[in-house]
């Protein structure tokens, strides 16, 4: 469970996050949606501590995070798995070494146990026979799946995904969505996904937060989106003429 309370963040004169509060439940896919530049990435980075908000509080299972000292933050971060937009795999390391990296640093497992864990994680994301390949030698979809495998290597309590489907074809995107959903339910993780891909939202979202110009503009479930009277949300969700026509013909 993650709780965000009255978070504000500015960059110079630009007030990017304006008094944002939210609650993210475990075992559910919590999605943050919004237009590019709306502040959703800053919100995600604020939650994981890569950006420091000026005011507000963030709690990981009632443990205060923003004002915690760096040692305590690192302890909490060991419970976090993160899938970055570009994968952020270590390019100088093989797929196997990438996934083994957190195991080498934070566990006392034997080499064989670590290898078993790596193979389990790779199997979990449907990747076989790629252990010795480098990130540059595998496809974008595989890189995302390896990033997910690395993120779950230490059995995290919290999973963060920053636009996990960007740059992927629709079929691979659905596969990644399903993977995130299954892992979240299986391990009862608190998962927060940052996206502007409405297919993903319709596919797996349990709870949705719509960020508009730095404000939390709307919150609801998957079904609520279609019935919402919120103009800004409707403009975002039904952005194309085709979607607007569909909405008009199916009120």
């Amino acid at each position: 469970m993650i709780e965000v309370k009255n978070v504000n963040k500015s960059f110079g004169d630009q007030h990017v996050l304006k008094d944002v509060s939210a609650f993210f439940e475990p075992g559910k896919i919590n999605m943050i949606i919004g237009r590019s530049g709306s502040g959703k990435t800053v919100l995600l980075k604020s939650i994981i501590g890569l950006v420091k908000p000026e005011t507000g509080d963030i709690f990981f299972n009632e443990r205060e995070f923003i004002r915690a000292n760096i040692k305590f933050k690192r302890e909490i971060r060991k419970e976090i798995g993160m899938v970055f937009q570009g994968g952020a795999l270590f390019t100088s390391q093989t797929v196997e070494d990438n996934i083994m990296f957190p195991l080498n640093l934070f566990t006392n497992l034997t080499k064989k146990e670590k290898l078993n864990r790596v193979n389990f994680c790779l199997d979990r994301v449907n990747i076989q026979n790629a252990n010795k390949q480098f990130p540059s030698e595998i496809s974008g979809g595989m890189q995302k799946r390896v990033a997910i495998a690395r993120a779950i290597a230490l059995n995290p309590k919290y999973l963060f995904c920053d636009e996990p489907n960007s740059g992927l074809d629709p079929q691979t995107a659905i596969m990644i969505d399903q993977l995130i959903h299954n892992i979240t339910v299986e391990y009862n993780m608190t998962t927060i996904v940052n996206t502007h891909d409405m297919n993903s939202v319709m596919e797996i979202a349990d709870s949705i937060i719509f960020i508009y110009e730095g404000h939390k503009w709307w919150q609801g479930g998957r079904e609520d989106i279609f019935n919402s009277e919120n103009d800004e949300l409707n403009d975002f969700v039904f952005a194309s003429e085709l979607c607007k026509k569909i909405k008009k013909t199916n009120p």
Partner: protein, 246 residues
């Protein structure tokens, strides 16, 4: 004001760098990897430059020592002292600032813009310590070895030119090498190169670590790393010479 801010930022980064590594075994492994990249891969450039400069320096000194009152053995002495006091520490470090410094800044800068450093932080790793401390340690181990190698090869370059030409006799050259040798000069040279190794690796890492933007900014960071490393090496060369030799 901006300079103070940059110095402050550098000191904050260094305070994160000089902490205890999470796993000693991983740290040692990383140090050996960096020794290969920073030290071993620099042997060829240091060797080529030293041999040729030793040969050229000997030739030039011999050509300019035309007066019969100047003893010929001073050619060997000047080659020795030039290499020990200045060339193998300062000039070699200026070359290494270009080779190693740009490499470090672009490597860490690329890791920054591709979010690999963020990924390390999210895993609970002290990224500054993990990435930078092995580089500084590796440079502290390998630069003094490169320094000694450069001294030996530079003097050997002079010996080769003395053998190949008749600008100075081998006897005079070797006599000059042994004449009034001050062992402290080697210590002075090693102290300088240790300080320079920390400057080059830490300044380059600093510029790489605080790269923001894209490929263009990585290039800019790399250039800045080389320029500021060179300026600081020259500045500290002056300070250390004043402190240690006067």
């Amino acid at each position: 004001m901006k300079l103070l801010s940059v110095i402050g930022q550098y000191l904050v980064l260094m305070s994160a760098v000089f902490t205890k590594p999470v796993r000693a075994r991983i740290f040692i492994k990383r140090v050996f990897e960096e020794i290969e990249q920073i030290g071993m891969d620099s042997i060829w450039i240091v060797s080529i430059v030293s041999v040729f400069m030793g040969a050229v320096l000997t030739l030039q000194v011999a050509i300019n020592f035309t007066s019969p009152v100047i003893p010929q053995y001073l050619i060997g002495l000047s080659a020795r002292d030039t290499f020990i006091l200045e060339f193998s520490s300062t000039i070699i470090c200026l070359i290494l600032a270009g080779k190693v410094g740009s490499n470090i800044a672009s490597e860490i800068g690329t890791m920054r813009i591709t979010e690999q450093i963020d990924a390390l932080e999210i895993m609970g790793v002290n990224s500054a310590n993990y990435l930078i401390l092995p580089k500084i340690t590796a440079a502290l181990i390998s630069f003094p070895i490169l320094n000694l190698l450069s001294i030996i090869l530079g003097i050997f370059g002079g010996y080769l030119i003395a053998t190949a030409t008749d600008v100075v006799s081998i006897y005079d050259y070797i006599y000059g090498l042994n004449y009034m040798f001050v062992p402290f000069y080697v210590t002075y040279s090693l102290i300088k190169i240790c300080v320079f190794s920390i400057i080059i690796t830490s300044v380059s890492s600093f510029h790489g670590y605080y790269t923001f933007g894209g490929a263009l900014e990585v290039g800019k960071s790399s250039t800045k790393a080389v320029v500021y490393s060179i300026i600081l090496v020259l500045l500290f060369n002056l300070i250390l010479t004043q402190l240690l030799l006067t």
